[in-house]
Symmetry: C2
Subunit: 241 residues, 2 copies
DNA sequence: GGAGATTACGAGTGATTGCTCGCATTCGTC
DNA sequence: GACGAATGCGAGCAATCACTCGTAATCTCC
């Protein structure tokens, strides 16, 4: 389940943040690898391999969500996926790459869920209506993929992992800013950027509540999240005359 | 600087979450320690020791804020404080205890900053005025102690560390709920609890923005945070008739 | 059904790190 | 100035964990 299987950018990930496992660095590297897999090596892969990648990413999502990034071991991910550690490292060069693949998958999904913000007609739909329609699927996504929140939204993992959230956040920020532009074209851009940042931050703050709440509270809480954002944005647009 | 020095509950911290470092567990423990330091062992301590504790906690705050909990090594804390690892372990039984001491210190400070919420006169001061007066010192505190946010508010460290934030969060939630009760006594308690949770979550969400922003943006952002909370609470109180 | 590539395994390796231990130094007190 | 207690040191231990490697099973394609 869940279309993780689209084989993200695996293979050219951080080759220097990892622990240097080279005991004798004085030895010159054999120069045949430069022409071998220099740039365009999409890697032959069987259907079984694709399935394994999906299994591994799903398992990683669960373990990361339960334990956070640094506390999860690659062996735990492999065990949860029902494979050996060696097999895991056939598909991912290191632990970071697993998180990176997850991040890319999540970013793609969320980007799709945020597209409605770009095509709203402000003369036909109020801001409240737009949010009321768009928020529930986003909430559902986060409840289905808690690792997204735990790792890439507000989580504090080691530096290079945090970098992965930046593109997603930048895109989300842009979506919000675009939405604000639609509803308040006269707002000075500086204020609009600030408003988008605050809106995004508030949204990120309430998400954990929504993800950890029992199922039956979700509609009510989603409504409250909408109220929070609309309440703020109303004030922002009113003060910006 | 910074009055950390009030010697928190060090010495009776988690004695089981640590790695079992006893090679031969068959050996029976000498029974004289049960009567020795069973419950009330406040530990004789010189002024020098208090100073070291303060140094260590301050250093820990910096390192934790920079690297997060699990990425910081106890040796790094000791080095930053200018002491040897052995000295660190004279004052703290383990890494967790350092974080716990920090958490207690932060919780005390924040609790004090939140007391204004308990003594507001709703007939003389509007909700907006109350927040406008109380938020800036809280923001200043978090900017002065970034580790508080990184470790205990929204951070995802290994489990037992997350437990430390719960008392602080519970107290903050109670303060907000009390404030809401003052301004909307007719609101059903269920809705009031929910509103307090959402308010707290939104506040937690915007804090990182405030801590990481350059100095000159802080007043403006604090104003936006106030708008966010007031905008939501206005709606909450209006819908609750 | 055979050749070559891909997949799978899992015990092992080396680096990291929380923490200890024996011993030296300084402090408080008489 | 002398005694015990508190403080201070830092090399090193033991456990953990990301990652490797030799080898064997399985797939693809002829």
């Amino acid at each position: 389940m869940l279309a993780f299987v689209n084989a993200p950018t695996i293979g050219r990930v951080s080759t220097e943040t990892t622990r240097a496992q080279t005991p004798t660095p004085g030895e010159a590297p054999t120069p045949d690898q430069a022409a071998d897999a220099s740039e365009a090596g999409p890697k032959r892969r069987q259907a079984r391999g694709e399935r394994r990648i999906a299994q591994l990413l799903e398992a990683a999502g669960h373990v990361f969500a339960e334990s956070g990034y640094s506390a999860t071991t690659t062996n735990a991910i492999a065990a949860r996926a029902g494979v050996s550690p060696g097999s895991l490292y056939q598909y991912f060069p290191n632990k970071d790459a697993i998180a990176a693949a997850l991040a890319e998958s999540y970013a793609d999904s969320l980007d799709e869920l945020l597209t409605p913000f770009a095509v709203v007609d402000p003369t036909a739909v109020t801001l409240e209506q737009a949010l009321g329609a768009s928020l529930p699927p986003i909430v559902d996504f986060h409840r289905a993929h808690p690792a997204c929140l735990a790792l890439f939204i507000g989580g504090n993992a080691p530096g290079h992992i945090m970098d992965l959230q930046q593109p997603l956040m930048a895109r989300t920020h842009a979506r919000i800013a675009a939405l604000l532009t639609l509803y308040a074209p006269q707002l000075p851009s500086e204020r609009l950027q600030l408003g988008a940042s605050v809106t995004l931050a508030a949204y990120k703050g309430v998400l954990p509540l929504l993800v950890e709440s029992p199922e039956e509270l979700v509609p009510e809480l989603t409504e409250q999240l909408k109220d929070l954002l609309v309440g703020y944005l109303d004030r922002l647009l009113a003060n910006g005359d």
